[in-house]
């Protein structure tokens, strides 16, 4: 009897298992055609649409190398990729962020892209961006989108206060920023700034680069030591003084995420919020009608507007049998015009500004006017609506979507709002803290979620990278 029950259970399992067998265990080659799997982490509709459009364009132009779009998720992406790599089932082209690549690069899961990428792509992206994906002697990802921290400001509040409005060329210093926030605060529930410090390590260390902060110092013996020096203290001290001494920043937001500060920002409690560049989309969607806001550069210190960034990356799996084709697909995705399309879709900034400049992009403009101001792509004397505007055949959404403006060479430059000249931003990314001659021994890594940990293998160091505004 017992045997019969066991047999029935096993048979049941096998039945279900058999029914679900996919039978797909090949390398993607069918009928002489190559199939590449591209796992994208794009999540906003505009971004997903652009990615899918680009895949369609590739497939139309390359019938022998078909790309399958696989939707990934930022949630648990590291564990998901690690498992796929270990199991030999990873996608051929992997979308991730540079701060997540170290494990995969050192683990041998990613292909070294040197020799696979075109000279055009190599030269389009600044060397300092490449350093974020360089581990040891290899390059394991193509950095293509980046998100600096900026100040999102209530334009009306700032104008009425009469404070100097900073520009990328003349940003606030940290001390000036503190003085401005003190002036904007009224001591009665209205604050000059609200710091969302849910990820305090990431926020303060990355911004500290502007003040010459470094924290990690490599000695002659190759060992890394932590020293908290004057440059490291500037940002945390400013925040502490704003909260405790000036009452120009509330303590209630110190544990909040960026989105959590927006109700207070829209409600007139906070004059400014330091947020990532892509938060502009949420602001466009959620800002009350008539609410005027603008993007300001983060305060500058001894090292100007430098700050740490972790670009989004595209990599090729080491196990992929079609590395050259995968690299060619990446090259296609990151042609200057396509990279700008991806950046617009994700509300971020492209790293490949040199290529963009050659392609005619002269400026990437941050939102500077009222919420809902339509975005345009201007090229020469032609003006195109941005692809995210509701005139693309879709039913208009409840809120106007676009506001990033890309100005192509020859187009009239707008005086409204801050302009980010491509020649200066974000091209002069610069690496700080870990210079090429310091790529020895163990080196600390800033993780995206504010963790800090050591690099496992000696002799390989990754870069903390600073982007420079203006």
């Amino acid at each position: 009897m017992r045997t019969r029950w066991s047999a029935a259970a096993v048979a049941g399992l096998l039945l279900v298992a058999g029914a679900g067998c996919s039978g797909d265990g090949g390398d993607g080659s069918r009928d002489g055609r190559i199939t590449l799997r591209f796992q994208s982490l794009a999540w906003q509709k505009e971004s997903v649409d652009v990615n899918k459009e680009l895949v369609r364009e590739w497939n139309a132009a390359h019938p022998k190398v078909r790309v399958e779009y696989v939707q990934g998720s930022w949630d648990s992406v590291h564990d998901q990729l690690l498992t796929s790599f270990e199991g030999g089932e990873a996608p051929d082209v992997v979308h991730d962020a540079s701060d997540d690549l170290a494990d995969f690069a050192y683990g041998g899961y990613l292909a070294d892209l040197r020799g696979l990428l075109s000279e055009r792509l190599r030269s389009d992206i600044p060397e300092r961006s490449w350093e974020t994906t360089t581990f040891g002697d290899g390059v394991y990802g193509v950095p293509f989108l980046q998100e600096p921290r900026v100040l999102i400001a209530n334009a009306e509040w700032l104008e009425e206060s009469g404070v100097r409005i900073p520009t990328p060329r003349e940003p606030w210093s940290w001390s000036e920023f503190r003085a401005v926030t003190a002036e904007l605060a009224d001591g009665d529930g209205k604050y000059g700034v609200a710091w969302p410090l849910k990820e305090p390590v990431s926020a303060t260390l990355n911004l500290s680069l502007s003040a010459g902060g470094r924290l990690f110092h490599r000695g002659d013996d190759g060992k890394v030591r932590i020293r908290f020096e004057e440059g490291d203290a500037v940002v945390p001290r400013t925040i502490r003084d704003q909260v405790n001494a000036d009452a120009s920043a509330p303590d209630s937001t110190l544990g909040s995420g960026g989105s959590d500060t927006l109700p207070g920002f829209f409600g007139g409690k906070y004059a400014m919020v330091p947020l990532g560049f892509s938060y502009r989309q949420q602001i466009v969607q959620q800002a009350p009608k008539g609410f005027r806001w603008r993007v300001l550069p983060a305060p500058a210190g001894a090292d100007g507007l430098a700050q740490g960034v972790s670009p989004q990356t595209l990599s090729v799996a080491q196990d992929s049998p079609h590395k050259e084709e995968a690299a060619a697909f990446i090259d296609f995705l990151l042609r200057p015009r396509n990279m700008v399309r991806l950046a617009l879709g994700d509300w971020m900034l492209p790293t490949g500004t040199r290529g963009a400049v050659r392609a005619g992009v002269s400026r990437v403009e941050g939102q500077g006017g009222d919420a809902g101001a339509p975005g345009v792509l201007q090229r020469g004397d032609r003006t195109e609506r941005a692809q995210a505007t509701p005139d693309d055949g879709r039913k208009p959404g409840p809120e106007p979507l676009p506001e990033v403006t890309v100005r192509w060479a020859g187009g009239a430059s707008s005086s409204a709002g801050p302009l980010w000249p491509v020649a200066q931003f974000p091209a002069p990314l610069k690496s700080r803290g870990y210079r090429p001659d310091e790529r020895q021994g163990r080196s600390p890594v800033f993780q995206g979620r504010g963790e800090l940990r050591d690099q496992p293998p000696p002799g390989r160091t990754r870069k903390a990278t600073a982007g420079q505004l203006g």
Partner: protein, 277 residues
């Protein structure tokens, strides 16, 4: 001992507070699902949307294949629940009635298995499934869910089986019933509430499961609802809150409906035999 009116009122107040505490996240989810973006970022949020809209639902369905994902989830959850119950019932019977060393070892395994986090087993599991060619298959996912739910299901059912008097089986044996007949005709009907509760547990744990589905399913058409819901989430916790709430609200409905339909049987089963009448 009689309870005074004041004490009784206090009990009801405490119960109400507990209910509010339990219901708060769900009610907030429902409220959020019907709010337009501007209300979501309001400094003074309200329970009832001031300007209720179905746009979040429209956007959620436009942007993600929710129905297909729900169908995949349903297949995985129902399959896992049925198979887990089918396997766990006879196992629980044996463990409850035959207290051998093997039964004790199995009980130990049940306890120990609850201590393993997902991430510890996922890579070996992935490799095993890959060898069985069960990666990227809903069938493989069902198998994983069954294995994952089995220990706790077994644990639950053993308790139910022990609550059934052994004398009933002896009476059946006297009447000439074999083991299988006893199990099917005598024990199973008495275990019905327990089986339903166990099946429900397996169903809900499979319906809500995210990580295995994320790792094991590659084809977008096979993804389950929890995985698709994460497509409304961006990096560093940024979320498309309205559509996410709308989709999450819809995702909770099957669990609520199943609970509503069978909750009487569950509580009835739990209380059955608690006291001698």
């Amino acid at each position: 001992m009689r309870t005074s009116r004041r004490a009784r009122a206090g009990q009801y107040a405490a119960l109400l507070a507990y209910l509010v505490f339990l219901a708060f996240p769900f009610l907030w989810l429902v409220s959020t699902a019907f709010k337009p973006p501007r209300e979501l970022a309001s400094l003074h949020p309200t329970w009832l949307p001031r300007d209720p809209t179905l746009d979040n639902f429209r956007q959620a369905f436009d942007e993600q294949p929710l129905l297909r994902a729900a169908a995949n989830s349903l297949v995985a959850a129902v399959g896992a629940a049925l198979i887990a119950v089918l396997i766990a019932t006879p196992m629980a019977y044996v463990m409850a009635r035959h207290r051998t060393r093997l039964a004790k070892a199995a009980t130990g395994w049940v306890v120990v298995s609850q201590a393993f986090p997902f991430v510890l087993v996922i890579i070996p599991l992935f490799l095993v499934l890959k060898n069985l060619r069960l990666i990227d298959s809903v069938g493989g996912l069902v198998m994983v869910y069954v294995v994952w739910a089995l220990p706790f299901a077994l644990w639950m059912l053993v308790g139910y089986v022990r609550a059934v008097p052994a004398e009933l089986e002896e009476a059946a044996a006297v009447d000439g019933a074999g083991r299988l007949r006893t199990l099917v005709s005598i024990i199973a009907p008495l275990l019905a509430p327990g089986i339903v509760a166990t099946g429900l547990f397996a169903f809900i744990s499979a319906w809500n499961e995210f990580f295995f589905a994320l790792v094991l399913l590659k084809t977008p058409e096979k993804q389950t609802l929890p995985v698709v819901l994460t497509h409304f989430l961006g990096a560093e916790g940024v979320a498309d809150l309205g559509p996410l709430a709308a989709a999450a609200f819809l995702a909770t409905l099957p669990s609520l409906v199943v609970f509503a339909l069978i909750q009487k049987r569950i509580t009835g089963g739990m209380l059955a035999g608690a006291v001698k009448s």
